[in-house]
Amino acid sequence: MTTAFTYNSKEFRQIIGQLDMQGHADHELSTCSVKKIYYDEVVEMLNGGKSEPEIIQSYVDEYGQAALRTPGGGTSGWIAWGMPAAGVGIGSVIVGVWLRKLTVKKAESKLETKAAWNSEVEKEIAAKTFDEERRKLF
């Protein structure tokens, strides 16, 4: 016997969350007739025994990749998903090279021995406080 699926079923939400519903996905259900049709269709298909991939595929067959809220497979999908990662990768390389170029190598640098403060914050706060006191006195 098939389970009676409703709008509250986990399976229903899983499927409906993937559908663009012709641009109506973010509309409020009660005022959007297009979204309501999609909701009813998906519940009907689930109750008719169709699985999630079958339902998704039926919409892709009808509307193409535009049926989904995210780019699917194929070249177009790969480019869509891959480009932000490529952007971060290329950006990292550029910043790395840039940093290397900007950094002066000072093998003999002993800056840490100079700092008598526990932290940069402490150093700056103390300096400002000294300055305040100095201005009060002089």
Partner: protein, 660 residues
């Protein structure tokens, strides 16, 4: 009225042109009279823009339906507040608002104490080019004072979604942010034209940039709040193209606000900073282009293809002009840069922060534009909706949160790794403790737990920074904790203002991660007297009533709410049927406490006794609004204070001498 309105628009064009020419002549002839005259032109622009704006407000307020704009966006029954806010409900009015704000900003800039600065004629010219564009577009394409052929008995009314307090604040704050970015952009370009490669322009525009960023933050947060209470789908950010367009300059300006600190201290990243501010300004134009062109589907669109073309041309012109200026000055910008002392330093960490922020902007831009790109180049129609952005942005924003936890602990010039690790111990412990507590209490969702732990780590860092500063001050002054805390913050507004902003972001992050992961939703039809149970809530539906208000039909559901078995009062979701609008409007009913929102929508009804509700429990959503307020307070704090960096240099030199 018609004449006054139109004359002020055409005068706007003439005066802007005159002002630009007067500046050019003044600079060429080195004549202060011409430059003074150009300054007068800016003031006159503010005057004519004010006349046009107040006139439009008057026409809207008095329902003069012989004007197309008034008839298109208002009607007799609309309340006065919304009649007036219809000013920015359509294209023509929002363009006038833009021109008005720009003219006001330009006046404030050219009459500031820096009015004798040699950059000023260039700055005012660049601002006037912008003003000229807006007045020209109004004259040629979207005139707010255009008359109707036949005077209608009543107007079409305002879109019900716009009849919300958010309408009063969201567009104005966002425009103030957009327009505000024109000022640092103008100063940046002016500095390049004059070949002044120092950080003067950055110091002069620090407050302008912060102010613009404050308004962008406010605009985005209010936009989210508006969507949450008005649109009825239970969310606050849909990654809609126009939302993305307002988020883009926010990201790039955030990067700019961090990287300018390096230029101020080390006189480096000059090309990068000027590029960032140019990019941010261009992105504001891009956002406006997206809203007005209608090239992408959006809830915000007031699509008009012609107007989109104007913006596209102007955006291209500004981009090419900026690019030309940067390229011709590139050699000069590269000179006189100080090097970074070490890889492990605050300077490097800021570069990393810039990388992440710009990468985030790129990802948002890419996702927003990809449907167009895909269709143009591959012929495949695709959608890039919220699930895509959530997946792509989550790791980027996670890295950003971790960086926000790490960067404050890294010292300028050269950080000592052992000290850094020692300083990181407590915040790290806080992050780990958060993860353990969440696991112990059976909280699901590994990604959410990672996100919340990272946020806790970031929050811990800032808490520790405050504690360390207070302790350092107390060591030196023997003040009590409260006085030390107050004085520490007041005397270092720029640093601690920034930290307060970071804390605001941590609070927002808790809200976003929790509501995204742990929100529950039930759609249920109930008979009168029946209850819906969800989470700790039990909602008993009593009755459905109808009444009219201002000529609109209102259907209200009466519901008793119990929370953990305790009566916490009533909740009344509504549907409003506007006379002038085909679709009914949803009025969400929300009950908020510190940890969750009960969000109820009256979905539909078969009869007065059989009604369908959508009930959501959204955890920690109120933290998003609270975080937004904290961010605004922090920004305002940093805005008021902040010493010039020359003072910092003196301190550093002094300390070096003491240390040596």
């Amino acid at each position: 009225m018609y004449l006054i309105g139109n004359i002020s628009i055409y005068l706007g064009i003439v005066i802007s042109l005159y002002g630009i020419i007067a500046n050019i002549v003044g600079v060429k002839k080195k004549s202060s009279k011409w430059i003074e005259s150009a300054r007068g032109a800016v003031l006159s622009l503010a005057f004519v823009a004010s006349i046009a704006s107040f006139l439009l407000l008057y026409l809207l307020g008095t329902s003069q339906f012989q004007y197309k704009y008034v008839a298109s966006y208002t009607n007799e029954s609309l309340s006065m507040a919304y009649k007036l806010t219809a000013f920015w409900a359509g294209n023509a009015g929002s363009l006038l608002l833009w021109a008005f704000l720009l003219a006001l900003y330009a006046t404030m800039v050219v009459f500031s104490k820096e009015k004798k600065n040699p950059m000023m004629p260039y700055v005012s010219s660049i601002l006037m080019v912008n003003i000229l564009f807006f007045f020209t577009v109004m004259a040629l394409n979207s005139n707010p004072f255009e008359m109707t052929d036949k005077i209608p008995a009543d107007g079409k009314g305002l879109n019900p979604m716009l009849q919300n307090p958010g309408m009063i604040l969201h567009p104005v704050t966002l425009y103030m942010g957009y327009v505000g970015l024109a000022v640092p952009f103008a100063f940046g370009i002016a500095a390049l034209i004059l070949k002044r490669m120092d950080s003067e322009w950055i110091k002069l525009t620090r407050r302008w940039t912060l102010l613009a960023w404050l308004f962008l933050t406010l605009g985005n947060v209010i936009g989210g709040w508006w969507a949450y209470i008005e649109l009825g789908w239970g969310g606050y950010w849909a990654w809609d193209p126009v939302e993305n367009a307002s988020f883009l300059p926010w990201l790039t300006v955030s990067a700019f606000l961090h990287s300018v600190m390096i230029q101020e201290r080390k006189n480096m990243l000059k090309t990068w900073n000027v590029s960032l501010i140019i990019l941010s300004f261009i992105l504001t134009l891009f956002g406006t282009f997206l809203v007005r062109s209608g090239i992408l589907t959006s809830v915000h669109a007031f699509g008009d293809n012609n107007l989109g073309t104007y913006f596209l041309v102007f955006m291209a012109f500004m981009m090419l002009f900026s690019l030309y200026i940067v390229m011709t000055r590139y050699g000069l910008i590269k000179k006189d840069s100080s090097p970074i002392e070490a890889y492990f330093s605050k300077e490097s960490s800021f570069l990393l922060n810039n990388l992440i922020l710009v990468a985030a902007a790129f990802a948002v831009f890419w996702g927003t534009m990809y449907p167009l790109i895909s269709e143009t180049f591959t012929g495949t129609k695709v959608n890039v909706g919220a699930p895509y952005f959530n997946k792509v942005m989550a790791p980027i924003l996670l890295v950003l949160i971790v960086l926000m936890g790490i960067c404050p602990l890294i010292a300028w010039q050269k950080a000592v790794f052992e000290k850094f690790m020692k300083n990181m111990l407590w915040p790290l412990a806080m992050g780990v403790a958060t993860a353990i507590i969440l696991f112990v209490f059976g909280v699901n969702g590994i990604y959410a737990i990672i996100g919340l732990s990272a946020t806790s780590f970031m929050f811990g860092t800032h808490l520790q920074e405050f504690a360390r500063g207070i302790s350092a001050r107390r060591k030196a002054t023997k003040e009590n904790i409260l006085k030390a805390a107050f004085k520490l913050t007041v005397k270092n507004q720029r640093r601690y203002g920034g930290y307060i902003v970071h804390i605001g972001i941590a609070v927002i992050a808790v809200g976003v991660i929790s509501s995204h992961t742990y929100s529950t939703e039930v759609l249920k039809t109930v008979d009168a007297g029946d209850s819906i149970k969800t989470g700790d809530y039990s909602l008993k539906f009593n009755k459905l009533t109808e009444h009219t208000k201002n000529g609109n039909g209102i259907v209200v559901a009466d519901i008793d709410v119990m929370y953990k078995g305790k009566d916490i009062g009533k909740i009344k979701p509504e549907k409003i049927f506007y006379e002038t609008w085909p679709e009914p409007s949803t009025e969400v009913a929300i009950k908020t406490n510190w940890s969750q929102d009960l969000y109820v929508v009256l979905s539909s009804w078969e009869s007065k006794d059989k009604v369908t509700f959508m009930v959501k429990v959204n955890p920690f959503v109120s933290w998003i609004w609270m975080g937004g307020i904290i961010m605004v307070i922090g920004t305002a704090f940093a805005l008021i204070g902040g010493r010039p960096t020359t003072f910092r240099h003196q301190i550093n030199k002094g300390i070096s001498r003491v240390g040596g």
